[in-house]
Amino acid sequence: MRRAARALGELAAVLFLVSLGVFLLVTAMPGDPAVMVLGEGHPPEAYDEVRSELGLDRPVFEQYLDWLASAVTGDLGTSLVPPQHEVAERLLLALPVSLQLAAMALVIALAVAIPLAMWSAHHEGGRIDRAVSAGTFGVLSVPPFLAGLLLIMVFAGGLGWFPRAEWARLGDGLAANLHHALLPALTIALMELAQFTRVLRNDLTVTLREDHILASRARGRSPVRVLVSDALRPSSFSLVTLLGLSVGRLIGSTVVVEYLFSLPGVGSLVVGAANQGDVPTVQGAVLAIAVFYVLANAAIDLSYRALDPRIRRSHV
C-alpha cells in the first residue's frame, strides 16, 4: 500500500517536471505569438494589447502556474490560429487516431516477433534462424519513413489494396477503421518487430541452454510447451526493457507516419501547429505525448514485477 502511494507520488513529480519542461520549451519557440494572431504590419501598441490579453506580459513562472492550473482541469486554452478551437477539443479528436496507431503497431510487432523469435531460437544456428536474423537486420536498416513510402507505393498505389491519406473513425465501422489503420500501423510496427524479434531470440537461446529447460524436457514436455510455457517468460525481461525504450521511438514513428499518410493524429496536429507558431496547441499536444510516455513507462515498470517473482520481494 505504502509502496503504491510512493509510486504515485513519484509519478506526480515526474509529470510536474514534464509539464514545466514542455511549457518552457514551447515558450522559447521562435516567433512572436502576437504577430501570429494579428498578422504583420500593425502598430506596436496593438501587439502589446494582444500580448497582455494572452498574459504574455507577465513573468514566465506566473504564466506557467496559470497554464498548469487550467491544464489540470482539462482546459488547455484556445488555438491562436483560426478556426480558434479549444486545444483540448482538438486533442480529443486527434488522440484516438494516434493511440490506435501506436497500439496496433505494438500488437502487430509483438504478435509477429514472439512466435518468430521462438521459431528462430528453436532452430538456433539453422537455416531458419539465419534467415530470420538476416531479414530482421534488413528491416532494421530501413527507416520508418522509407518503409512507409515503399508500403504506400506497393499496397496503396500499385496494388490499390489500401486507402491512403484518409482516415475512418471507429464510428464509421470497425472494418473500415481497420482497413485505414492497417498500413500505417504496419509501417510503425516494422522496426519494432525486427528489434523485438532479435532481442527475444537471443534471450531465448540463452534460456534454452539452462538446466531447468533440460529438466523440463526430461519430464516429457513437448518442444512447443517448453518454448511457450517454460522459456518465454524468463526470457522476456530484455524485451520488456526494450518495450519501455521503444515507447519513445514509437511516438516518433507515429508522428512521421501520420504526416506521411496525412492522418489526423496528434503528430499531424503538432507539426501543423508548430509551423503556424500556435503555441497553446503545441503545448497541449506535447503535454499529451509526454504524459502518455510517462504513463506507458510506469505500466512497463509494473509488468516487470508481474514477470519476475524474484524482484517482488527485493523492492519492498
Binding site: 544456428g125 539453422g126 539452462e210 538446466d211 531447468h212 533440460l214 529438466a215 523440463s216 524436457r217 526430461a218 519430464r219 516429457g220 514436455r221 513437448s222 510455457s229 517454460d230 517468460r233 524468463p234 514477470l307 519476475d308 517473482p309 524474484r310
Partner: protein, 338 residues
C-alpha cells in the same frame, strides 16, 4: 536369465565440434535389473552426464551429435522411438535428477507447478487432483508445510529443499528408472547424505531402479548394488560394490580408492592424487586411455583398446575389467584372472 530393465549395448555418443569429434561416450555396455541401484563413478569429463542423457534419449542423433549402439529400456529401443513416443517414457518410465538444484527449477514458476504439470501431462489428472497429489509428493520427499511450499518460488527455498522438489517432480509419475546425475554435488555435506538416503529409501519403497552418477566413489559406496567406473568415455571396471571397494582390479579404480578421503585420515593431510591429466576427449590416446597415467602400463597397453572381460569366479556376479595387466585379486579368488 530375466530380461534386465535397462540394457545398454556398445553405446557411443560423438559430438561433432569445430575442434573435431568428441567421443564423450565410447562403447559403453551395461545392464541394470529392476529395483537395483547402479553407481557410475568417474572424474570430471569422463562422460557420466552424457552417458546418463544418452541412456535416457535426451541426447540423440541430430545436428552435431551421432549416437550409435542400443539402449533398451523395459524392452523398448529408446533411440529407435519417434521423439513424441520417447517423450512419453520421460516421467512414467525413466526420470532424471540433475546436478545443480539452484538452476534445475524454473525461477519464474511456482514450486508446485513443476510437479503439477507433469501429473497433468502424463497421468491426465484434473487441476484439483494434481494439486493434491503434488502436496502429497512434496510431503513424501520430506518437505515441511508442503501446501505453503507448493505456492512459493524456487528462490524462496534452500538448495536441499529445491533438490527435494526436483526429486518429487522426477518421481511424480512413478518411473521404473531414476537417473540421478550427481544429485548432491552442489549441496552441503549434511544435506548430501539426506538426499542420497531419500533416493535410496524411495527406491526401496517403490522398487525403482537407480543409476546414481557421482565423481565420488565413497558417496556411491553403501548405496549401490554395483558400481561402474568410467574413464575417458569408457567403462574400465564394473563389479558388485563390495568387490570394487574390496578387490578392485583396474589400476584406475585402485588409484581412485587410494585418493578418496578417509574419515580416519588426519585433518588436512594430503591425499594421494592421480598423476597426470584426464585424456582429451577430442584426441584420446591409442590403446588403453589410462595408460599414460598408469604406473603399471607397458607397451601392450598402448597397442589396442583392452576389451571389457569378466574376471569373476564361475557362478559369481560379473566382475568386468578392461585392463591387460589388472591388479591381483585377493588370494581366495585368484585363479580366475587372466
Amino acid at each position: 536369465m530375466s530380461e534386465p530393465l535397462l540394457d545398454v549395448e556398445d553405446l557411443r555418443t560423438t559430438f561433432h565440434t569445430p575442434r573435431g569429434d568428441v567421443h564423450a561416450v565410447d562403447g559403453v555396455s551395461l545392464r541394470l535389473e529392476a529395483g537395483r541401484t547402479l553407481g557410475v563413478v568417474g572424474e570430471s569429463g569422463s562422460g557420466k552426464s552424457v552417458l546418463g542423457r544418452t541412456v535416457m534419449g535426451l541426447v540423440s542423433s541430430g545436428p552435431g551429435v551421432t549416437v550409435s549402439g542400443r539402449v533398451s529400456l523395459a524392452g523398448q529401443d529408446v533411440h529407435a522411438l519417434a521423439p513424441a513416443e520417447r517423450r512419453r517414457l520421460w516421467g512414467p518410465r525413466v526420470a532424471m535428477v540433475f546436478q545443480d538444484p539452484m538452476t534445475s527449477l524454473n525461477p519464474v514458476k511456482r514450486v508446485g507447478r513443476h510437479i503439477d504439470e507433469v501429473l497433468r501431462l502424463h497421468l491426465r489428472l484434473g487441476r484439483r487432483e494434481a494439486r493434491e497429489r503434488t502436496v502429497g509428493l512434496l510431503r513424501q520427499v520430506g518437505i515441511p508445510e508442503p501446501e505453503r511450499r507448493a505456492g512459493q518460488y524456487p528462490h524462496e527455498l534452500s538448495g536441499g529443499m529445491r533438490q527435494r522438489v526436483v526429486i518429487a517432480a522426477a518421481l511424480a509419475c512413478g518411473p521404473d528408472l531414476l537417473i540421478a546425475d550427481e544429485p548432491t554435488t552442489a549441496l552441503d555435506v549434511t544435506v548430501q547424505r539426506q538426499i542420497l538416503d531419500l533416493v535410496a529409501s524411495l527406491s526401496r519403497r517403490s522398487g525403482m531402479a537407480v543409476v546414481l552418477i557421482s565423481h565420488d566413489l565413497a558417496a556411491v559406496g553403501g548405496r549401490a548394488d554395483r558400481v561402474a567406473v568410467m574413464y575417458g568415455g569408457r567403462l574400465v571396471e564394473s563389479a558388485p560394490t563390495s568387490r570394487v571397494f574390496g578387490a578392485p582390479r583396474h589400476p584406475y579404480t585402485g588409484a581412485l580408492l587410494a585418493s578418496a578421503p578417509r574419515l580416519s585420515a588426519a585433518p588436512h593431510s594430503r591425499l594421494p592424487t592421480i598423476e597426470g591429466r584426464p585424456p582429451d576427449p577430442a584426441d584420446p590416446p591409442p590403446g588403453c586411455r589410462f595408460a599414460p597415467r598408469c604406473p603399471r602400463a607397458e607397451a601392450v597397453c598402448r597397442g589396442g583398446a583392452p576389451p571389457l572381460l569378466d574376471l569373476a569366479p564361475v557362478g559369481g556376479h560379473p566382475h568386468e575389467v578392461a585392463c591387460r595387466l589388472p591388479l591381483e585379486a585377493e588370494s581366495t579368488e585368484v585363479g580366475h584372472g587372466r
